[in-house]
């Protein structure tokens, strides 16, 4: 294939990505957008395979089949509750692929005694560093989300100083390799090792509640790593696609930060949720009012309006289908049911919407926070299921609370409140929640799924 034609085909692929992202950002066209972007990827792959420089196809074919097969299998079997882990894993693999390509390019030129031109050498250093960091950082995020390790922030003395020192050493190594064509191989190895280590160190102090931000940011990094690889191999489609992903990841991280009323720096370096004793308000002397499924069923059966506030606890219990069943029963009795979705409900941006869509909840019933907050006052029952920090009134009133200032769902303003919860444990952020001690609140303890099942049965027999 002549070079000009190859370049034009890559341009076509880039156009597909741009159109794909544009359409992906709007509900009516999202499906088409994703497919167009997939077509772009197919074009890019085919054009590359037709490249005259490629001599052997056996290894490539094996890689395509193994990777493609693995990807397909994961995509088809993954549970919707596990989407955050899946995206974390894919981010990591994307970063890892960039690291491997950059590393291979370096080793090839090293073996042949060639030296990199300065400009692609700079890009190479970034590819290695960001790729390595994305790989291990995503690995830690995956482990935290999969609950293979504690979701709590892990902190130790001089952590930030250590990270800063490692970052400086990495930059020093990068500068050395760029300025001295005869720099030894160990400098290359050391740079990668530091990148891998930094990925781990940067993610372990970030608590489970902040994972949506971390995933968005790692998504951005995997894009930037791809763009840097594009600088190394001088390929525009990598640069364009990588830059698009890089900026979209940054925007999603910012949206998430805004929803928590915190800066990106605070999320990354604040070690939020490290100490369980972070709360200054003690719950001593306060009592909760415990209710039974019976009581709750009656309250819900006679409610004219119900707002369901779903949290991650609902997702963990795989109870989203039962919630819809319960909502159907309430609606059959003439009540109106809506769902209040906090931007950080779930463990990645928009996660709760996906889970409820899976349970066939019509998406016009999923109301965003700003829109629904004024409705709580006029609502008979706010049904809080497995949510905690996003309904904590302390965020509004208690200036000493770690989540003070975070926008919350005003469930406490509803005429009646039912909170379904496994026990009195605190949320991801490790903070006491005064909503539970509100006299209007009835606490319904137990596993969300079992309790919802009981509720569904009870509400059927309320005459």
């Amino acid at each position: 294939m002549p070079l000009a034609l190859t370049k034009l085909a890559y341009l076509l692929a880039a156009v597909c990505f741009i159109l794909g992202l544009k359409w992906l950002a709007s509900p009516g066209t999202a499906v088409r957008g994703n497919r167009v972007s997939g077509v772009g990827m197919l074009i890019a792959i085919l054009v590359t395979l037709a490249n005259q420089g490629i001599l052997s196809y056996t290894v490539i074919a094996a890689g395509l089949v193994v990777g493609g097969g693995l990807g397909l299998w994961m995509a088809r079997t993954v549970k919707m509750t596990a989407m955050p882990q899946m995206v974390a894993l894919l981010n990591g693999l994307g970063g890892g692929a960039s690291l491997l390509v950059g590393g291979a390019e370096y080793l090839i030129s090293h073996a042949e005694g060639r030296t990199f031109p300065v400009d692609s050498n700079i890009a190479l250093q970034f590819t290695l560093l960001i790729g390595a960091l994305t790989l291990t950082g995503s690995g830690i995020a995956f482990a935290k989300l999969q609950e293979m390790m504690s979701g709590r922030a892990i902190v130790f003395p001089f952590q930030k100083a250590l990270n800063a020192a490692l970052g400086l050493v990495a930059l020093g190594l990068a500068y050395w390799q760029v300025s001295d064509p005869n720099s030894p191989l160990w400098a290359f190895g050391a740079l990668i090792a530091i990148g891998l280590l930094l990925g781990i160190l940067l993610v372990i102090p970030i608590g489970g509640a902040d994972m949506p931000v971390v995933i968005s940011l790692l998504n951005s990094y995997s894009g930037i790593a791809a763009a840097m690889t594009g600088f190394v191999i001088r390929n525009d489609v990598l640069i364009i696609a990588g830059a698009l992903v890089g900026s979209s990841g940054i925007i999603l991280s910012q949206i998430m930060c805004k929803a928590m009323n915190r800066s990106l720096a605070n999320v990354l370096f604040g070690a939020f949720g490290a100490a369980a004793g972070a709360s200054t308000k003690s719950a001593e002397g306060l009592t909760v009012r415990q209710i039974t499924a019976d009581d709750a069923a009656i309250q819900l059966a006679y409610a004219q309006s119900v707002i369901v506030v779903p949290g991650y606890g609902l997702a963990v219990a795989q109870a989203q289908h039962l919630v819809r069943e319960l909502a159907d029963l309430i609606e059959k009795r003439g009540g109106v049911v809506k769902y209040a979705i906090h931007p950080v409900a779930g463990r990645m941006p928009g996660h709760m919407n996906v889970l409820l869509a899976e349970a066939n909840v019509p998406y016009d019933k999923l109301i965003e926070m700003d829109e629904i907050n004024s409705e709580f006052e006029r609502t008979d029952v706010a049904l809080v299921i497995g949510a905690n920090d996003v309904v904590n009134p302390g965020a509004r009133t208690d200036a000493s609370s770690p989540i003070y200032g975070m926008p919350i769902l005003n469930a406490d303003l509803a005429k009646g409140i039912i909170v379904m919860k496994r026990g009195m444990g605190s949320g991801f952020a490790g903070i006491e929640n005064e909503l539970f001690y509100n006299p209007k609140t009835g606490m319904l303890f137990g596993d969300a799924k079992a309790t919802l099942q009981k509720l569904v049965q009870e509400i059927k027999v309320v005459s």
């Binding site: 992906l24 001599l55 395509l64 693995l70 080793l107 992903v245």
Partner: protein
């Protein structure tokens, strides 16, 4: 600074701003599919992986290239298919159960 690098930096900068414009007003419903869809796009590194693997430079680069192709393809195939799966759940008309 070479001409090619300069052109690449221009492209990178423009594409970054374009990305911001494209994503800025996304409804929160679409955040998760958008992220996994964007994720699939970052699998474009597969192009670099193919080039490294296909040009025979000895077994080390071949092995690294093979791994890179596998990683990037998991990213590509997994990302696109899972996004499609999620979006198909949104597509169901309200009331269709």
């Amino acid at each position: 600074m070479t001409e090619i690098l300069l052109a690449s930096i221009v492209i990178f900068t423009l594409a970054t701003f374009l990305g911001v414009e494209l994503i800025n007003r996304v409804p929160s419903t679409l955040h998760t599919p958008l992220m996994s869809g964007a994720n699939a796009i970052s699998g474009i590194t597969v192009v670099g992986a193919l080039l490294v693997t296909g040009v025979d430079h000895g077994w080390i680069s071949m092995a690294l290239g093979f791994l890179a192709v596998v990683f990037a393809m998991v990213n590509v195939a997994g990302g696109y298919v899972v996004t499609d799966r999620m979006l198909s759940m949104f597509k169901k008309k309200p009331g269709a159960r």
